[in-house]
Symmetry: C2
Subunit: 421 residues, 2 copies
Amino acid sequence: MSVVETAGQVLRDGAFGHATALSCRECGHQVALGPFYACPECFGPLEISYDFPAVTREEIEAGPANIWRYKALLPVPSDIELSPNMEPGFTRLLKAHNLGRELGIDNLWVKDDSTNPTNSFKDRVVACALSAATELHAKVFACPSTGNLANAVAAAGARAGIKTMVFIPANLEKPKQVNSAIYTDSLVAVNGNYDDVNKLASEIAGEEEGWAFVNVNVRPYYAEGSKTLGYEIAEQLGWRLPDQVVIPVASGSQLTKVHKAFQELIKLGLVEDKKYKIYGAQATGCGPVATAFKAGVDAIRPVKPDTIAKSLAIGNPADGIYVLDICRETGGAVEEVTDDEIRDGIVLLARTEGIFTETAGGTTTAVLKKLVETGQLDTSLETVFINTGHGLKTLDAIADKVGAAATIDPSYDAFKASGLI
Amino acid sequence: MSVVETAGQVLRDGAFGHATALSCRECGHQVALGPFYACPECFGPLEISYDFPAVTREEIEAGPANIWRYKALLPVPSDIELSPNMEPGFTRLLKAHNLGRELGIDNLWVKDDSTNPTNSFKDRVVACALSAATELHAKVFACPSTGNLANAVAAAGARAGIKTMVFIPANLEKPKQVNSAIYTDSLVAVNGNYDDVNKLASEIAGEEEGWAFVNVNVRPYYAEGSKTLGYEIAEQLGWRLPDQVVIPVASGSQLTKVHKAFQELIKLGLVEDKKYKIYGAQATGCGPVATAFKAGVDAIRPVKPDTIAKSLAIGNPADGIYVLDICRETGGAVEEVTDDEIRDGIVLLARTEGIFTETAGGTTTAVLKKLVETGQLDTSLETVFINTGHGLKTLDAIADKVGAAATIDPSYDAFKASGLI
């Protein structure tokens, strides 16, 4: 590769690793790698294209215990480890013995991303966005968000030492503000809802030079970070693909990227080619993709979100149509569950596997249960579901559901009399 | 090894790995491995003795990305991975470029245990206690606690499918109760303070057969889990010891175990023998070890804790005298900081390295700063400090310290007028 110029900037050799271009997912038109996200021909979404070298399992296994072990498959430079970053990923893939028994699934695994640096999968995508921002010489690293993304961007920006601005709705609860404000003195509260904040972000991205909004103008790089969930699942299973995967759907990006990751691993010969089914999980209060799936239609009708699963509350999911395609093609499904089922899902996962998930993970757990109950999931097949975030961030959702079993006086006699044993 | 009988129970071959006995740290008297914690001769604390086999770096590196990669050096069976457990450890060792620059330390690292399964180092020790409880055929897995330990025990017990009872003070704040209650329906609220809860636990341990209280009667096994912090630091530095380590001191166990781990690695030839200094970090509101260190005395005078660093608030630390010995012998120190310094420490670590720590980590960060300012730490030497837990659990401590930089209307003009850029 040689030095290329994009958006008026000189990029260093290998700035984006083995990525070769941005390709439109709709019309296939290609543009040079740069801070672009929409096709200039048809306004379709741009996605990274690569020319991968031969990559071996051994090379990957010799890498660090974080997402950079897959750096050859990401749009990042080969010296990515040298740039201060959060070093996310390579989280636990746990055999879910108890939950499997409870649900009647023979062979169940949970991929637990709640132990990422800021306790959600967002650390993966933000790490890739940060690399793109750095390579594109961005002056400001920014995002609009109400939760996990804000935490991840604020933390990664602090560690990288890049100017960071995080835009949140002004009425966001104080604890959630603290989770981001702790990392940055540039948290900006905006009078309005998340849509207003998002619109402001796009406006700033259009007006200001050198701003990298992780989920706007460097979104193609950002989104690639979710592929690492797929790579890790395959590697941690011993370099093979599972039969079924259940993934929460907000924008839908994560689900499409796990599929992309599996396909890449097959093409690179790192896993055996096999059929697998992909399932999407949504909340009934924001289930536009599930609704379209069940209706058997291709068009997704936007909804106004009304669910406790705030991190899944995207009423008009950008990648919804791709989620539909993938779930239909692979023989999976998209299912939705009510807020009560989500709360039950949170408690179920904690009580069976010792994992405290946020509402998004409660949604995925509850959808897994519903897929079994409705006969949509084959309980004899190896199944993985993804927990994307931590329950400490959404304590309110279950604060009234759990508590002490008894209150006793501090004596052995009082304990014996309590009936607890 | 052959099958041994202890406390009336038949243990399976290799139940405790290469551990050979429980040895009194005071008089050296040895007893058979079992649910014992105090020397029958002198009431001194019992500690695990081993007969280690030859262990190579390669064997360890080929192990899983959790504490079981060091299973040959822990009192656990060789098939420990087969028992459902939290799979904690192998957390990030991050180069702290920004904080190092801020404090004037050339070569600074932070070992970040906030990304453990329940977000504190307690997952390490509880995993070892759980193994001991299982091998000893305990009926109930239990602890008295107000925080991190309760979370870790409740989660590990749920995943292991063992009956679990967690005792907390009844006046513990609701969010902290939820962090444990989410995992178990056997959370017991006790009318009284932590001392009362602790006393009740000892009473139950004495009265009931088959209860494993992690920090009481299986404490020797439990405490060994902290060695893995030392092993990981050495391995992640490339199989060498740092020059200086700063470690928070509650009971003092963690500090003594990191020292023990370093000594074991030297004896096993896994790292080069070298001098290193160990420093202890306490809060001024509960600094009995720091007080004794500064006074140059051997006896530790118990205090009544009064600090925001609740997880360090042990007024009569069991391992305090060993901490004094180690810090003096290695040329380190024990230092303390005020609650205001602790709060500043939390913000400093977040703003420089993107790590949101709890009050204990704020204490360690602030002590690190103070050690530099008072000339007690050599800023030219490679230094590691340990972050033991997550700030999401102690939000209240800094909720009034951080927040939005500005509140604006949702327009580009309003943003421009805000003076933020």
